[in-house]
């Protein structure tokens, strides 16, 4: 039986060496869709590097079996989606809504929701401009954000299978991404649009009306809930038409399962961020947070992986051991980094991520149970920071900063992202009590020595 070694971050080569100690029965033990023939996924990072993920050669990984499982599972997602379709499951594309459509889709038997948007990681993990170049060829401006690689993926149909149904958000979700989705529609895909309302605050309304407050403290007009309920019911009806079934009890069950994941992830975050020594690396933690959106196309297996990760982290916390030095400088990270290498670099240079705001907080809050499920989903979604004002987002980040555990904030500014262009400056200006470093995320392979120097200087200054 494989035993975890003293925690540390190790390279791809070191993982390959360590993988020699993993037994065949352990490899066969973990599988997605419970399939023995093609569902095995426990491989060292080198496997995915051989298949083109070139950045893995540069990254450092947690050395636990739980982390290996996490990497194997997430890197297997593309194959998993194709296998899902081959085995008769339905593929549900959710775009831009960030967290709710999958909860609905998972209430239907053999339906696998996924986010084509996640293709934005691919150019970085592959250190490749293949998708970005293709997107430009297809008509997206060079200066649009990395999510344009989604368009290329739809064109190529080599990264995920043709979805059985597509849901796309517009309105207060990202307008740039809505343009990409329109281009997907122009390719002949039939999109089902749902509109996300902008979360207006009381004082910005001309006619006073009843407001309420979401769990995360965001205020919103009560009628938005009803509006979203209608949108989600349309999603439900489309799913019913697709599958020929539909039982609201199954939606309650899906909410309950998604909540289990959300609670587990929150527990993992708490454990990791409050421990004296960082028990798990920031990169793996980011992958864990993003898994909340849809469970990486096999929610049951994902739940099991999270349990194993939590156990590994809890063991480390109990023993007071971890993967970073105990004097690592505590930082908050705002807006997800498209380039995973940056999280590694910040840790290598002496930082430790103890708070994150990856614009997916609606997928981290639990959904109310025991009430009408569509209302529960609508209320939960109102926690999204992306659909409100920058001011609200700043206030939320500032609350974390004021808790005193954060020495500095890193904000990532995505090349071509219109939101970032506006928000990063504002956030930087308004976070008065804490030093802020804004990083422009360059194109793949674009991290320069100069950027490293800026991060080093920032961390040293905080120290």
């Amino acid at each position: 039986m494989y035993q975890d070694l003293t925690p540390e971050k190790i390279s791809l080569r070191e993982w390959s060496r360590q993988f020699r100690m993993v037994g065949d029965s352990e490899i066969r033990q973990f599988k997605y869709y419970n399939n023995d023939e093609w569902g095995i996924y426990l491989s060292p990072p080198a496997t995915f590097m051989v298949y083109g993920s070139r950045q893995l050669k540069k990254l450092k990984f947690d050395n636990s079996l739980a982390a290996l499982r996490l990497w194997g599972f997430t890197f297997n997602e593309s194959e998993r989606l194709f296998r899902a379709r081959q085995s008769g499951k339905r593929i549900i594309a959710a775009m831009g809504d960030l967290g709710t459509v999958p909860v609905i889709a998972l209430a239907f038997p053999d339906c696998i929701p996924f986010y084509p948007d996640c293709t934005w990681w691919t150019p970085f993990f592959n250190e490749s401009t293949v998708l970005l170049d293709k997107a430009s060829e297809l008509g997206t401006p060079e200066a649009s954000c990395f999510v344009r690689s989604t368009l290329a993926a739809f064109h190529k149909m080599a990264y995920f299978p043709k979805p059985d149904i597509l849901f796309a958000s517009t309105g207060a979700s990202c307008d740039d991404y809505s343009c990409i989705m329109q281009m997907v529609e122009d390719m002949g895909y039939e999109l089902n649009w749902l509109e996300i309302p902008f979360r207006r605050q009381r004082r910005s309304l001309h006619v006073p009306e009843e407001h309420t407050v979401a769990e995360s403290g965001f205020e919103y007009p009560k009628r938005f809930e009803t509006y979203l309920v209608d949108e989600y019911k349309r999603v439900w009806q489309k799913m019913e038409a697709l599958t020929g079934t539909g039982d609201l009890e199954d939606l309650n069950a899906s909410i309950e399962k998604n909540n289990r994941i959300r609670r587990l992830v929150n527990e993992i975050k708490d454990l990791t961020q409050t421990a004296a020594v960082a028990p798990f690396p920031a990169l793996e933690m980011m992958i864990i947070e993003f898994g909340n959106l849809y469970g990486y196309a096999d929610i049951d297996e994902w739940l099991d992986i999270l349990k194993m990760i939590k156990q590994t982290i809890a063991d480390r916390v109990e023993k007071g051991i971890g993967v970073l030095a105990s004097d690592a400088v505590p930082l908050a990270w705002v807006t997800p980094t498209a380039d995973p290498l940056l999280l590694n670099i910040v840790e290598d240079l002496g930082g430790r991520i103890v708070a994150t705001e990856y614009v997916i907080n609606q997928a981290l809050t639990t959904i109310e149970e025991g009430i009408e499920p569509f209302h529960a989903l609508a209320r939960s979604f109102m926690n999204a920071s992306l659909i409100g004002s920058t001011e609200e987002r700043v206030r939320q980040i500032a609350r974390g900063v004021d808790s005193g555990k954060i020495a500095g904030v890193i904000i990532t500014n995505m090349l071509g992202c219109s939101h970032c262009a506006m928000e990063t400056r504002l956030i930087e200006e308004k976070l008065k009590n804490v030093p802020v470093l804004a990083i422009d995320i360059p194109a793949p392979l674009g991290i320069t020595a100069q950027l490293r120097t800026r991060i080093t200087a920032f961390i040293e200054m905080l120290r």
Binding site: R13, A46, K57, F82, V130, K156
Partner: protein, 343 residues
């Protein structure tokens, strides 16, 4: 029609049982790359960067779907102590097999970063991977244990020992297997996808009984080891493998590359279990005309394109070093014309 996918994407779909835009084209362009680059053969197989640059130039010229890091099957045996001569314009020649000087117990396992030309291979893989690894699979040819075993010995004596001294042959093959596994660890970490080549296990060289007794079990062990990595493994045996076709799936290889075998027979026997690679006659590439090649390749591809688990258009053996470039172009262009799935 224009390609819609990169070679990397195309191969990625094939190995998960999906049809790509067109069939993969992977003629075994190995040392022929030196000719394309205008390089002396010795410069090709003794310098990793040269080997990679020649392969890259070849892929840029022909636009086929794989880089093939390889020159000859002696590399593991050489790293274990067999001595080779390096002619300036020919492939290495086995001069003194190590077992002529030492006994099997004395042969050390090679260190792939230090011994023989294994570092040359690893450097070539790393260079090619850094240059093109996001767009094209980097195939790293690994001599199978049985073939290496024969290169550790005097080949004639070895063949007699397969009948008279089975336990000795088994221990030589086992030692070769351990060396192949050691090399694979490094090949994978460098970014190469191991492809197992076992030319001396061909029925043109040994009987089906000998194949079953020595080569097959060691091929299977190597495949099993590589499957721990969840890699899709190609097994290539050149020459005539008709008598052992039924045995090949027992190796558990995911893709089987055939040479002098009736393609229809191979499809009937294998295609529901493995993906088939093959099998254009390389002597035709050397001596035929583009017009004849076009007609023959068209016939081959049309017959094999819809093999149940997938098909890769390839040559049955290595593209001859001096094959006229126009003939190789004719092969590749013809497959690109008739090998489409997405229409």
């Amino acid at each position: 029609m224009n390609d819609m996918l990169t070679s990397r994407e195309r191969f990625g779909l094939l190995v998960i049982d999906e049809q790509p835009d067109r069939c993969n084209i992977m003629p075994l362009i190995t040392s022929h790359a030196a000719t394309v680059k205008g390089m002396k053969l010795r410069d090709y197989y003794t310098n990793g960067e040269n080997m990679a640059r020649a392969q890259i130039a070849t892929v840029e010229k022909y636009e086929h779907d794989a880089i093939s890091i390889f020159s000859e099957v002696g590399i593991i045996a050489e790293a274990m102590g067999s001595e080779f001569e390096y002619p300036e314009n020919d492939l290495p020649i086995l001069r003194t097999p190590v077992l002529e000087k030492k006994d099997i117990e004395e042969i050390k396992l090679p260190s792939p970063r230090a011994d023989g030309r294994l570092p040359v291979y690893l450097e070539a893989i790393e260079y090619a991977y850094a240059a093109l690894g996001d767009r094209i699979p980097i195939l790293a040819y690994i001599p199978a244990p049985f073939t290496t075993a024969m290169m550790l010995s005097d080949p004639n004596k070895f063949l007699i020992q397969t009948i008279r001294e089975p336990s000795r042959v088994e221990s030589i093959v086992d030692r070769s297997l351990a060396a192949a596994i050691e090399l694979c660890y490094h090949v994978i970490d460098a970014g190469g996808l191991p492809i197992i080549v076992d030319p001396l296990a061909s029925s043109s060289v040994v009987s089906p009984k000998t194949y079953r007794q020595y080569a097959l079990p060691s091929e299977r062990k190597l495949v099993d080891f590589l499957h721990r990595y969840d890699l899709d493994i190609i097994l290539h045996i050149c020459g005539d493998t008709s008598p052992i076709l039924d045995l090949l799936p027992q190796t558990r290889a995911d893709l089987i590359s055939i040479d002098q075998v009736n393609m229809q027979q191979a499809i009937d026997k294998l295609s529901s279990r493995v993906r088939i690679i093959g099998n254009y006659d390389t002597s035709r590439l050397a001596f035929s005309t583009p017009e004849d090649i076009e007609a023959e390749v068209r016939y081959m591809v049309e017959g094999a394109l819809h093999a149940k688990k997938g098909y890769i258009a390839a040559t049955g053996c290595e593209v001859p070093i001096k094959a006229p470039e126009k003939n190789v172009v004719a092969f590749i262009d013809t497959v690109k014309e008739v090998g489409w799935y997405w229409v």
